[in-house]
Amino acid sequence: MIDTNAYIGGYPFRHIPHPEPAVLARVLEREGLDGAWVGHLPSVFYRDPAPGNDELFESVAPHPTLRPAPCIRPDWPGWERSLASAVDRGARAIRAYPPQWGLGADDPAMRSLCAACGEAGIPLVLTARFEDLRQRHWMDQAGDLSAAAVRSVARGNPQTRIVVCSAGRGTIEEVHWGLTPQERALVFWDISWIWGPPEDELALLLRTMGPERFVYGTAWPLRLAQTPRANLALLPDELAGVTLTDPSRW
């Protein structure tokens, strides 16, 4: 199993201890994970993510379990070339951050990126949030990725696998049940921000949507990597040992 929701690098709004690749590699080993799709956290807030992508490829190169997931901004001139370059350099997934770029829910650029990822045979990863809404810095005005934005990307998508990280039950259900069966079969959700008992929202979603719709994610280095493991361990008995989708097999 791999962690679909991991980053290296600092965060502009608070100190994060040791967000270095070597530490992430050790954390993955401790958590029993085979690897991670690793993004470059500072790039989320860059206008042009290209320098961050360069830093990402260079930083993870010595660590075979860290698989680069660079960021492509589809409203930036020449993004198609950047995507092709990222794939050539070994990207395992492509990340995009429409709220941080000011792209609205219906922005056609995101649909273009999604289609291009499908053509390149690589998953597209979206991130619903990086911090709890209650604690955001006053300069962090981007807001959460909306369910409408995810639906807009996913509707009519014929082939691209879309992974949405750090979403909660409300967003997940609003998207999942707002798509056709064919569309929703290409959308996957990481479990890092879904509540366990007593609300048991993860259990509910596994029952109603099926475990194949979910992938493992930690949101490291922002959040404790132990959280999804704890959540799975506390599932009710009938869901014990449930098998999530393993994107390393894609």
């Binding site: 709890d132 604690q135 509540w195 366990g196 008992p197 007593p198 959280t227």
Partner: protein, 303 residues
Amino acid sequence: MTTSPAPLAGPTPLIDVHAHFFFEGCGRAEWDALNAARFRAGERMGISIHIASILGSWGRFSPTYFASPADTALGNDAMQAIAARYPDRVRWYVAVNPNDTEFALAEIDRRVAAGAIGVKLAAGRRADDALVDPIAQRAAERNLPILHHIWQHRRRHWPSQDASDGADLARLAARHAGASFILAHIGGGGDYRHTFAAVRDVPNIYLDLSGSGVDRGMLDDAYAAVGAKRLIWGADITLCTGLAKLWALEVIGLTSDEMADVRWRNAVRVFPHLRWEPGTGNREQRSQVGGTVPGSPFPVPVK
């Protein structure tokens, strides 16, 4: 013969100082499933004691954080009944709204006589408001810790509550040095680092680790600010994050002695009325809680 799996949080005692239950007719239709899920997960984790409260009708008849006297009593009735039904694993706070001082003090007295071991204050009045003083004074006189709902660094008004932050609670605690205060859920939203700075030098405030927030660095910073003697484990409404924090505390380097403080010994110190029968519903072996020697730091059985 089947054996229970090892507790996920380890075999030594574990006290949750921030739990909640629900009851038929409250604002949550699925009340029974929520209670059952807490017990199920608690059993799986190895929680020895849930120290819990019920905040009125959870919004059905009056607002959760501004509960009417009738609603307050309704919630405390339900909490008292749950504690009576599960004496091996549930202890409780009497919840009060400080805006009705006379009722609140009478409710504290009545519920302590019925077995409550602490006072729960939510967000009906700021912690440093003079109206909270009689509550704090009564709590100190009766050796009852106060679990106070806290917004970590309140920078603006938040709907449906008069939220207090760490600085507010520090002012109250300074006025009542003989009382113990548990600052609720450092992971419950807001900027916990502001809280740590506000309470670092206030020795009668303990930090409850509960809340859905699992930021890396939060536990390290809390430990650095107040030390293991003033950290108390709790889960509130996300037991999954509570378990993750216990696992993370081991990774950040607490000694086994410090882990025992955080898991249960600090709670025993803060709750003078806490009594529990080890090895009954809790699954601890008596050898792990040190028996019942008078004066021992371990919990002693019910008389």
